[in-house]
């Protein structure tokens, strides 16, 4: 959800600064949280609606039919790809123990770091089993096989839909691009021990190119960027990792000037929208040991 929102914000030209806030129980449940002029909004879909109403709309130039297509493809992503992505991050034992849990735990204060990763892992497993685990699939391994099959099919469908164009609806990025990027980027960039989704993704060169394009165009680091959280000088890889270990982030927010020239971008001088994320206010180089 984090990278999705940032991608969307970049596409639509909304000025966002990423803040990390001090950790608290409630905050972790609700991040990412958008704070703007005392209005607090917590779920990704609602945040997107809010941004649209404020006229930061990346979908301005889409036709009605394309808007409908966007909704349909998002449903496809959530239904087919999301279970497998969640599984890769949180349930797959090797991945979880060697990658997800240490990061997560290093970002939040002791003793929550002992409890919360386990809780999130259990919740994800619960969700997968409840929504996908009915008969005739009776064991966890069968469910896992099915969700990975579905995810691979979904990736194939996305690849066919993208074809050779740069973004899903032509030359400018839209909400759908943000969603797809939000789902694909963690699979693509994070180095897990068990990587069947990543291998499959690598076989679809147009999707890889799509991720790379967005990463290089919109998440480029330059010297003039700064964030209250301090300079993150790690490479884009690490940036993606920290963003997407479930709402933990410590990023530098960079707006690309080209986006500001988009037609619907109104000359706003209102308060900047702050995207708050849970985590310590320190760079990854100063990790607290759990």
């Amino acid at each position: 959800p984090q990278s999705l929102l940032q991608a969307y914000a970049k596409f639509s030209g909304a000025p966002l600064t990423v803040n990390t806030i001090n950790n608290s129980w409630r905050a972790l449940k609700d991040v990412p949280v958008l704070v703007s002029e005392d209005v607090v909004i917590s779920q990704p879909a609602k945040i997107l609606n809010f941004l649209r109403k404020q006229k930061y709309n990346a979908d301005y130039e889409l036709s009605a039919k394309q808007g409908a297509d966007t909704l349909a493809y998002i449903a496809l992503l959530e239904e087919k790809l999301l279970p497998a992505v969640l599984h890769t991050f949180w349930v797959e034992a090797e991945n979880y123990c060697s990658v997800t849990k240490p990061w997560f735990a290093s970002r939040i204060a002791f003793p929550l770091s002992l409890y919360l990763p386990g809780k999130m892992s259990r919740e994800v497993l619960n969700r997968i089993l409840l929504t996908r685990g009915g008969p005739p699939l009776y064991s966890l391994s069968e469910v896992e096989a099915q969700i990975y099959r579905d995810a691979k099919e979904c990736l194939n469908l996305l690849s066919k839909r993208l074809g050779t164009s740069q973004f899903f609806f032509g030359d400018t990025p839209t909400t759908l691009d943000a969603f797809v990027f939000g789902f694909l980027a963690p699979i693509y960039k994070v180095c897990f021990p068990r990587v069947q989704l990543q291998e499959h993704l690598r076989q679809l060169p147009n999707l890889c190119r799509f991720c790379d394009d967005i990463l290089s165009c919109y998440f480029r680091l330059t010297v003039s960027g700064h964030s209250p959280a301090g300079q993150d000088t790690a490479d884009a890889n690490l940036q993606k990792l920290t963003q997407l270990v479930n709402k933990e982030s410590n990023l530098i927010e960079k707006m690309d000037d080209n986006l500001r020239k988009s037609p619907q971008h109104p000359p706003r001088k209102l308060t900047t929208l702050k995207l708050a994320a849970g985590g310590e206010g320190s760079s990854p180089l100063n990790r607290l040991s759990p």
Binding site: L71, A75, E79, G134
Partner: protein, 263 residues
């Protein structure tokens, strides 16, 4: 899979008059529409324990030859293996689009139907509980329907719908209908001239919503706002369901659903 379609293929669902609920009726009608569009004859058999007979626990399921297949997705694939398919004429991009829209319908419309009938307390008390357990004696009927309710609510909680209010759910339905309406435009079917499984699925859900009487009419009002969708339903009904005297005709199902939900 090389055998031809037998004459005695049967589709099983719950009892039409007293027991079947909105979401199951929608799924069953979708499958019936799909089979009609493929020109494959099937007779509808109503059994109180259809849910338990089904291999996946969901209705409807079809019994063809010596094979049992449940739910629209697997049924479409099964029918394809027998050599009948509605989506062969589509190119790859269109197929991807079709799958995406089918997921949208399942994600939004079906979940909204389930929410309405199991998580909205008024509807649960007055319609769902009496209907769901109606073939069984007390106390079994109450136990079964509470069990099912608990199961559905757990699922809703896992996907995050438990916190939604009825208004939010109705708004999601509206958004979904708007997307479908925009996609359909002025065409007769979603992929212009030929109906596909997407048309069957959309028809199943929308027709059921339009013709089932619930506590309030808000759900059907949302669909009625889009005239091309109601015209779409009427067109499919006329083309594939009227003129048949079989029990499986949608109009009969609709009339009986209306009648019995009035109690």
């Amino acid at each position: 899979a090389a055998e031809p379609w037998p004459e005695n293929a049967a589709l099983y669902q719950q009892l039409k008059e007293e027991q079947i609920l909105l979401s199951d009726n929608a799924s069953s009608l979708a499958v019936q529409a799909f089979l009609q569009m493929c020109n494959l004859p099937v007779r509808v058999v109503c059994r109180a324990n259809a849910e338990y007979m089904s291999p996946s626990g969901k209705v409807p399921f079809i019994h063809v030859g010596n094979q049992v297949v449940s739910e629209l997705g697997p049924i479409v694939q099964f029918v394809k293996a027998k050599g009948h398919s509605l989506s062969d004429g589509l190119d790859e991009v269109q197929k991807a689009e079709m799958k995406a829209y089918m997921e949208l319908v399942n994600n939004m419309l079906l979940t909204a139907e389930l929410y309405l009938q199991w998580c909205d307390d008024v509807t649960v008390e007055e319609i769902t509980h009496p209907r769901y357990g109606s073939p069984y004696p007390w106390p079994l009927n109450r136990i079964l329907s509470y069990q099912k309710q608990w199961e559905v609510r757990r699922k809703m909680k896992a996907i995050g719908w438990a916190g939604k209010t009825l208004d939010q759910v109705l708004e999601d339905v509206d958004q979904c209908c708007q997307a479908l309406s925009q996609r359909l435009g002025t065409q007769p079917y979603f992929f212009n001239k030929q109906p596909t499984e997407l048309d069957a699925l959309v028809f199943g859900h929308l027709f059921t919503i339009l013709t089932t009487q619930l506590i309030t009419d808000e759900l059907s009002e949302k669909v009625k706002n889009y005239s091309n969708l109601t015209a779409f339903c009427r067109r499919i009904e006329q083309q594939y369901f009227e003129g048949h005297d079989k029990d499986s005709s949608a109009t009969v199902a609709a009339r009986s659903a209306k009648r019995s939900l009035l109690r």
